[in-house]
Symmetry: C2
Subunit: 444 residues, 2 copies
Amino acid sequence: MKNILVIGAGRSSHVLIEFLLANAEQFRWLVTVADAEPSAAARRINGHKHGLSVWLDVNKPNDRKDLIKRSDLVISLLPAQLHLKVAKDCLLLRKHLLTASYLSPDIESMHDVVQGSGLTFISELGVDPGIDHMSAMRLIEQIKGQGGDIFDFRSYTGGLVAPDSDDNPWHYKITWNPQNVVMAGQGTAQYLDQNKPRFVPGYRVFEHPRIVEVHGFGELEMYPNRDSLLYQTVYGLDNVTNMIRGTLRYPGFCSAWNALVKIGLTESFGMIHNTGGLTYRRLLEGFLPVGNGPLKSRLAQYLGVAVDNEIIHKIEWLGLLSSTSVDLSNGTAAEILLELLLRKWKMTGKDRDVVIMQHEIYYRKNHSDHLKVSTLIYEGESLKKTAMAKLVGWPLGVAAKLLMTGQLDYPGIHRPTNRRVYEPVLDGLQQLGVNFIESDGSEG
Amino acid sequence: MKNILVIGAGRSSHVLIEFLLANAEQFRWLVTVADAEPSAAARRINGHKHGLSVWLDVNKPNDRKDLIKRSDLVISLLPAQLHLKVAKDCLLLRKHLLTASYLSPDIESMHDVVQGSGLTFISELGVDPGIDHMSAMRLIEQIKGQGGDIFDFRSYTGGLVAPDSDDNPWHYKITWNPQNVVMAGQGTAQYLDQNKPRFVPGYRVFEHPRIVEVHGFGELEMYPNRDSLLYQTVYGLDNVTNMIRGTLRYPGFCSAWNALVKIGLTESFGMIHNTGGLTYRRLLEGFLPVGNGPLKSRLAQYLGVAVDNEIIHKIEWLGLLSSTSVDLSNGTAAEILLELLLRKWKMTGKDRDVVIMQHEIYYRKNHSDHLKVSTLIYEGESLKKTAMAKLVGWPLGVAAKLLMTGQLDYPGIHRPTNRRVYEPVLDGLQQLGVNFIESDGSEG
């Protein structure tokens, strides 16, 4: 009997726990789900005979250690800043650890001693970060193995509403962490272009989206991520002259979101006072230069577009020109906007999501240039079984299964960028129906 | 014998501790200075027979309580987020508390029980926040007391380099917390204009500075603060139609700083990777649109100014067009810029600072409109005895003296906006040479 401890029973735990419980009988696992909210943990277990739900305040070291001590593997779904405590306990108590969060330098610095203890800690085992790393690395190492010399790497990921459920003028609904929606494009984006670093300040990130042709899906827009260059060395791409990682949106999204940025509605610093008495109309007006005439004309003029432009239509559709009261008593501009978006961009009824990922790798081989494209188009099943939830939960689940069945032995602290991790995890994902389609192309 | 405990021996403690020690003999005080750095505390006391320096890790509750228990008054100069712990201890152990930091809602919520215990806690007893509140409130209540009906309130504060020491093209040096320099203008600024709230996103805060004529000093530029409306109710100005609080700079500063914002160099999110290998020139180039021609011309073109414009000269003077390596191995754009500014805008040698404050209050009385202006121009003495250090330290020192000599009895949690505080503290400041000059004007 092996004990798997999942810490955190929030939204991202659903698919993972279902996967673990479905395998529990065959592999003789006990799956323990711990959360500060005991009813949330119980709901995840739902009476399963191989499951156990427990209450845990993760800030109480003794309770935390007691639970970890009794497990063979810990999967932490806690907010990123709490992982370090759990990682230290796992090292002390000699347990393996998996997370879907970004690997922090604090945790990374424990590599040698974790390796020496024969323990395997893997972070970034979700999607962006996670599946993006694994599928990119498989492709990169395949090209290199065949003698290709990579000079241009482009990788895009987007969590979107599925085409069938796309019924609002923004062509966007919130399919995952809502915070990410307003935080997107806050901070300097960077990428490598013709061997020179390019920096884009947050307030200009949505100004010039690139058009990306996603094979089997169609044209999408892409804006650059903050972290494009973070993985250059990790991916073994120190010699490329171009590297970009970006986020995908349906066409028309970026110019309209850019208008919200330009107005000032995405800013997450500075409390707006007395918002209780504010209407959306008055909020919008307060951001525009003083002027006369109808608000809609002033808005169009400020944005430099015609009053019947699609951007104005999108902003009006959100309700920002309405005399409705702002539904938040005090908040930053971004918080006020988010509260509105949570209502307007809500997934409801039969809505489904889709996760799109595409890698485009240009390489030189036999004195000519080639292009390899690898594309994932993965649609969700329902409001609960979203593509995003599966693509975050399954890599953790598959890696857990590999670890618990002795098929993954890779002591140390890792991202899933090594073949020993990405091969078996991608194979496991393929068995679950997560397939990348590869296509070749010769550059003109 | 009364015991006064000062927690924190950093830069802002210098003038305060000197003031307390200078009064210690006469009033029979023991002044204890506690800091995590014992040598810093010892330096402040410098062997004074009424002083005691102690080591304190403020996160150790027992050590903290031990010290607080033995004092009659606590003055906390800790970072703002640590005040709550100290405030709770002071309540528990029945001690008065003074700070120069912003009053947090957490602490404010303790008002009733602090008042019931007969204790006096006063926050915002420095300068901006502090002297600005006190001098504004004195003027507001004076005008109201004489039957004036205030409809427009403007208040400006600036910490600048003194005119004699103003020898760089930016007409600016760092006279206080360097962090504030790059954080200025991050977040939505807001003010009230013709009874309508006006919002300015951070990236546009420096775009349209107002010109302010400071009586006895000359023309300065003013950009709006984030918190203009935070004090509307506190100041009793709920019925005004215009209210703005702003920051003062020498003419020409705002348009040049706005250029840095527009380039993207002030952004405090998003690590710039491999900055170790970057030159300032390449950093700047990375932010500009791709193009040909000399970097300086491309910069001028991006900013929409001539290549010999004063803004380009200022940017060049900072070294941003030079091939010097960025002196920081990893950092956000704002951190890279700050590291540069700390060297270029350093106060050295005989440099002195000046603090400028001006309130402009428009009111109606006897059917006509009037203007009352109150101005403080306070120059520093030296690099160590800056105007800023005095104007932060003295209000705390004067309030401490009032409390310890029984001249200030005002139980509860307060800002210094009540006459019971501002009258005696402003009087004490006047005795130290801090004088506001008032002038009248009739609006045309």
